[in-house]
Amino acid sequence: MGGSLAKPVLLILAMYAFLKFVVPNLPGSAPLPSSLIFLYLMLTTTGIVVFKTLSRESKDAFFAPILNFLTGENIGAMSAARYGFLILFPLLVGWQTYGSTATSDAPPAENRTIHPAPPGEYTGLSNPVSKTPENIMQGKGFYAAFCSPCHGGKFDGKGPAARGFNPPPANFSDPTTIAMLQESYLFWRIKKGGVGLPIEGMPWKSAMPRWEVELPDEWIWKIIMGEYDGAHQSPRTWE
């Protein structure tokens, strides 16, 4: 036993190390979930087995050391590792079974859609308020009065009232929030608030007020202009 197994083993270990330690550090990447790592390792293993069984000779050369290892025939100093494997395998099966059957202490998973689709009547609306410095300034004033307690004076979602809310108030300076949305989307979200969200937006958790009961539409459009200007972002357009 030896050479014919050493390469596949090293290949799988290298693949594991790559997925576990290298991929998360690539630019724009994130740690892979264990289920995905498991899937990749299984694909790698399958590929190796297919490659090694293309011919009778390579198949025998591949499986012979495995059979010898399992039966203990002519493995010399490998006996200790064999016993270790024979003990470890049932224990791992037991562990895996426990993990999949034991009662979980984790609360139910929540999959919230951050930007759910707006109702049709809000799609494609354009801001009727002209984009003048005066209107932008007025919008910033309304923002300071009505929005900044949660969304922050710096448009970063870190207002003094924000800390207890889950989900947290949106950070407008983050390029993945209002910069990805059209002004009509913001008009809908501000007007109808958290309770206007569809079910995938978890309307029961959002603290966003339903501003239509307190602010005229014109003020909301001005607030939108003030938000984009203050956060140094531009609305998404289709042009």
Partner: protein
Amino acid sequence: MKPANQIRQWVSGVGAVAVTALILSGAAPGLAQESESVSVSAPMVKGTLPVDDPNAAIWSTAKPAKFPMSPQVHWPNRILETTVKDLSVRALHDGTQVAVLLEYADPTEDPDDAAAIEFMVGDKKAHFAHGQPMAQVEGGPVNIWYWKNKDKKGVDMNAMGFGTLKIQTHQDVKATGAFSNGTWKVVFTRPLATEHTAEDTQLIPGGFINIAFAVWDGRKDGAGDLVEKGSQKAVSSWWYFRAEAPPDYSGYYYAAFAAALALGFQFVLIRKLKKGQAA
């Protein structure tokens, strides 16, 4: 055997064991990750629940969950700053009753100091702000357990939006508070299950249910008016509550059976392989 061959065998053997472990452990659940409080867990205790004693030693057996609080800004009349910034929550149950202990910092004891716990009722989701009506989702009611210092009692209420708060005709909730060194400790108790399933949240051991909190500092301003009152209060988002179920050892039994099965499989496989090699 040559030393080089021996080393190669060791690399292959140990590597094979490691790969097996990697692959199998990849399918196993990940290690528990540390996270901020998202849930209050009420362990089951034997003996008497500390229903009227916020300072009972047994509370230390319950793990505290800490939740941040925000001013209530969702609906007018809103407030932009509140006294209470964080809330610590512990809970216990005895299979019949549940006791929930709220603990928070408040510089002064005032007659109008008050606290409340809110639950969803039934299967329908409810908005965390008193079950405010939602435009695209049919919401359900919320069940609110309320305590005020000067009243010295718990009040069982329901709401489906601000302005709809209604005291129940049947009162199942008890509450008592103790103030010491700038800290309030308030205990709410209620039977886990009640007959009034349409109004009262039903706490089934083992099941998760949404929970939220509210606190009012009963201090007054220079004009003698309450600063925090009604909808002007500190609130939390929805979090989770679970009364722990009695210990369940079935996972260990299944694991032992699976390990025994794997051991038997190994035994049969190796025996068959050995027979094949001998032939």
